[in-house]
């Protein structure tokens, strides 16, 4: 048997009381593509961050080529031939492709080795089919290209072990195929690849071996074969039989929110072009699209942060000319933003402040400009109980709550205002299974109550589970809106890459 490239033994990592990794073992041979499968919050990313030196493990050993090693930093990991492509890219947008590749690399004499870098870039293209314009600014690259740059960066640093954390989350299904081809070429050259995902079909089509993590522990470690069914993997991953949430039929009511030919100015942001959408009471509208195709802008228009340049926006049949966050709140738009930590809540303030952030100017939280702290406290305490938010109390600093609890706090805040339309962006990103389920149940409850819900997500699985209709965004345009019965992953995927359905 060949010498293992990588051998992790008994890795344990705790964050306070939370055990993110519990005695995890993992081994990788040259030429292996190992799938690391698990739900959000199962400890996949933590494990790889331990390997990459971002976190120090509390227990356990790591061996490379059979030799035990200590990895304290990214620099250590890189020196050992470990490279990581993070879920969120680590690129410098204001620099060129070439500059990004040369960061941290030794120069030639005093100077940067530009010629060398160009030559190696050409070599990577020849071997793995990963090509990019060396002089292009990273800020101008498409998401798929940025990911390619991340992979090339890793190869430039002489990595033999390449870790990819949820790499397909930002790609269309078709782009993902291209990525897989490159990874297969790398494996054929003797690289070891760790592919982190929670998407079963990807693991099945790409990997040779699969390790399933559940709640920080290894649930199974097996060689991939056709004998293993999706159902088996799913059960290993979730620990119980996978039951899709029940989505009862519901009556759709009148149109609560409608955009008619809405365009925005653009500038530094993606321009919305002639967007027309309607959501009715009692329905969940899913918004699909590769990240950066106008979904954020749509969310900001509806939240009142981005002005409408042309077209009309109607809430409950009322045309809104001057939008602002205050106006949209008053019209009954609730908002669960994508970046809960930066635009939703204020992490450095007490939870009670975060939970009344958009409400504080209203009764009963304040009167004549004076705040009623008692009323706020009562409200927050009630919500903490009602939503089962795990926090030390209303005075706990917001940032000390876990992602799932932050999301619950946000939902509690928005739902307390009984919104007519709830806009949620990436609502279950980074949440564990239980919290994700809770969030979806809240959406379904709103739907049953005749409210409208808009869910923006890059997770197609999520959209297929809860949406009644799916609208696909591409370059600021709505490609199409499909009732769920007519939607398929392939069809949505094509629309996401800008191809009109035939």
């Amino acid at each position: 048997m060949a010498q293992a490239l990588l051998e992790m033994r008994g890795i344990t990592k705790r964050f306070g009381a939370v055990v993110a990794n519990d005695r995890v073992d993992l081994s990788l041979l040259p030429g292996d593509i190992l799938g690391l499968l698990g739900e959000n919050g199962a400890g996949k990313t933590t494990l790889m961050n331990v390997l990459f030196g971002t976190y120090a493990p509390d227990e356990g050993t790591i061996a490379i080529d059979g030799k035990p090693v200590a990895i304290h930093s990214a620099a250590d990991a890189l020196a050992l031939g470990i490279g990581m492509v993070h879920q969120h890219f680590h690129l410098v947008p204001s620099m060129t492709v070439l500059e990004n590749l040369m960061i941290g690399l030794p120069g030639k004499g005093l100077r940067l080795d530009e010629a060398g870098a160009r030559a190696r870039l050409a070599d990577v293209k020849a071997r793995f089919g990963l090509g990019l314009d060396p002089d292009a600014l990273v800020s101008g690259l498409a998401i798929g290209e940025q990911q390619r740059l991340e992979i090339i960066k890793v190869l430039f640093r002489g990595a033999r072990i390449v870790i990819l954390d949820e790499p397909t989350a930002v790609l269309t299904p078709q782009e993902a195929e291209g990525l897989f081809a490159a990874l297969r070429a790398m494996a054929a050259e003797g690289f070891g690849v760790v592919f982190i995902s929670h998407k079963l079909h990807e693991i099945r089509s790409l990997t040779h071996k699969v390790t399933v993590l559940r709640q920080g522990r290894i649930a199974a470690s097996l060689a991939m074969s056709d004998a293993i069914t999706d159902r088996q993997l799913a059960e290993l991953m979730c620990g119980h039989e996978l039951t899709p949430p029940v989505k009862p039929a519901s009556e759709t009511g009148e149109v609560l929110l409608s955009l008619d030919g809405v365009s925005t100015a653009g500038g530094r942001r993606v321009r919305l072009r002639d967007v027309s959408l309607q959501v009715r009471g009692g329905e969940i509208l899913g918004i699909a699209g590769v990240s950066g195709n106008g979904q954020r802008e749509l969310a900001d228009v509806i939240a009142g942060m981005l002005p409408v340049a042309s077209g009309t926006l109607q809430v409950g049949g009322l045309a809104v000319r001057e939008t602002s966050p205050r106006v949209m709140q008053a019209l009954g738009i609730g908002r669960v933003p994508e970046d809960r930590m930066t635009t939703g809540l204020i992490t450095s303030l007490p939870l009670s402040d975060s939970m009344v952030l958009p409400l504080v100017a209203k009764k009963p939280f304040s009167r004549f400009g004076f705040i009623d702290h008692g009323a706020i406290r009562r409200f927050v305490t009630e919500q903490i109980t009602a939503f089962g938010i795990r926090a030390a109390g209303p005075d706990a600093r917001t940032g000390t709550l876990s992602g799932g609890n932050l999301q619950k706090a946000l939902l509690a805040r928005e739902l307390s205002q009984d919104p007519r339309v709830l806009l949620a962006a990436q609502p279950i990103r980074g949440l564990d299974v239980g919290a994700a389920r809770f969030v979806h149940e809240q959406f379904l409850a709103l739907r049953a109550a005749g409210r409208a819900v808009i869910v923006i997500s890059e997770d197609l699985e999520e959209l297929f589970q809860i949406s009644d209709r799916i609208a696909v965004f591409f370059e600021g345009r709505v490609m199409d809106v499909l009732p769920i019965a007519q939607a398929s992953v392939a069809r949505i995927g094509l629309l996401m890459s800008g191809q009109e359905a035939a």
């Binding site: 120090a56 493990p57 509390d58 227990e59 356990g60 050993t61 790591i62 035990p68 090693v69 200590a70 304290h72 939240a303 942060m305 602002s324 966050p325 205050r326 709140q329 908002r335 933003p337 930066t342 635009t343 939703g344 809540l345 204020i346 992490t347 450095s348 303030l349 007490p350 402040d353 952030l357 958009p358 504080v360 100017a361 304040s366 400009g369 004076f370 705040i371 702290h373 030390a392 109390g393 005075d395 706990a396 600093r397 940032g399 000390t400």
Partner: protein, 355 residues
């Protein structure tokens, strides 16, 4: 290898806000004791004089309180501004604006006597506030960094003031660049007979709890905090960051302006070059020491009033340079900044080196 690690804490115990400034001050005095030794002084004697002489007699206590008044105002100015992360370093200039406005009104012959004091207060606060609006407007409209602007404005207003005092506004009876005295009726009443304890001290002591209520109990105070901690989230929640920043600047500048009013109406009865020996800058140290809590500003201001007045006595008695008080201010700001870290984090000793 042992490493220090910072861990976030969930909530800060209330007693920290008292213990930390005290600890920071002790650390500061310990560090500065080194300078006393270096200057060939006796630490006990030097600190003894420094801290006891300003409180040793009724007269000295009153003088300390008089010194504390402008410091409370400039401290409040910074405590308001920094909460919104509006880095107003222009307290010095805003103070001078307030002083000039007060001296100008106080010297008007045409105004009824009873209206003088209220008008001076109003004009001083307004002048300071408007001067602080300049960096706020430049920041919200043109994205200009307010630190540089507010600092440069200090120089501009100082040179501008000197140009006036050297020129059209010069007191013809004085050989120095001073403004003419304000009218008799424009002087602040004395609160304690036969001392210099003037109305300004009382105003400062009232201002602190008012600002406290404003920051803690009003929607505006909430907005200031929210914008300071996370302007983006505040904007999404419906607060106008531009408007909140302007309101903050106006309030902050008004406080600094009032410091100037007090110095003119209560103490000097005119404007002159040395009207503020850096009160605006000391206000930063005071506000930080108070943890930006308006109520904490009062004891912090008294502390530095003691340090500043005591340093002169110490210097006379021991020959140690009076500038020890400036070193203490700088050191205090830094130690307090470090101490504030403990409100958010706890320090953990951690052995690194697994495998």
């Amino acid at each position: 290898m042992i490493r220090l690690r910072l861990e976030q804490r969930a909530a800060t115990p209330a007693w920290f806000y008292v213990a930390l400034p005290v600890a920071a001050m002790l650390a500061t005095l310990l560090l500065c004791a080194g300078l006393v030794v270096l200057a060939g002084g006796d630490v006990i004697e030097a600190y003894g004089t420094l801290f006891l002489s300003p409180v040793a007699s009724r007269f000295a206590l009153v003088e300390t309180a008089v010194k504390a008044a402008p410091l409370i105002f400039t401290g409040l100015a910074v405590a308001i501004a920094f909460r919104a992360k509006f880095w107003n370093i222009g307290g010095e200039g805003q103070l001078l604006m307030g002083a000039m406005a007060a001296a100008f009104i106080g010297g008007r012959e045409g105004l009824p006597a009873v209206s003088l004091i209220p008008l001076m207060i109003l004009a001083g606060a307004l002048a300071g506030g408007i001067w602080a609006l300049v960096p706020a407007l430049l920041r919200t409209r043109y994205k200009v960094d307010e630190v540089v602007v507010s600092l440069l404005l200090n120089f501009i207003v100082f040179y501008g003031m000197m140009a006036l005092l050297d020129g059209v506004w010069k007191d013809p009876l004085s050989g120095y660049p001073d403004s003419p005295d304000i009218r008799e009726e424009a002087g602040f009443p004395i609160l304690l007979p036969r001392t210099r304890l003037h109305l300004g001290v009382g105003l400062a002591l009232i201002a602190a709890p008012l600002v406290f209520v404003l920051m803690r109990k009003t929607v505006l105070g909430f907005a200031i905090r929210a914008v300071g901690e996370n302007a983006q989230a505040a904007a999404y929640a419906g607060f106008s960051t531009a408007r909140v920043t302007m309101a903050t600047a106006l309030l902050s500048g008004a406080m600094a302006g009032l410091a100037g009013v007090g110095e003119v109406a209560g103490l000097h009865y005119q404007v002159m070059a040395g009207i503020s020996p850096g009160y605006g800058y000391t206000g930063i140290v005071i506000a930080m020491l108070a943890g930006l809590n308006p109520l904490g500003v009062v004891p912090a201001a008294f502390f530095f009033a003691i340090v500043i007045t005591g340093a002169e006595a110490m210097s006379r008695a021991t020959g140690i340079p009076v500038y020890l008080s400036d070193v203490i201010q700088g050191t205090a700001l830094i130690t307090m900044l470090i101490a504030l870290l403990f409100t958010r984090y706890r320090l953990r000793l951690k052995g690194v080196g697994h495998g």
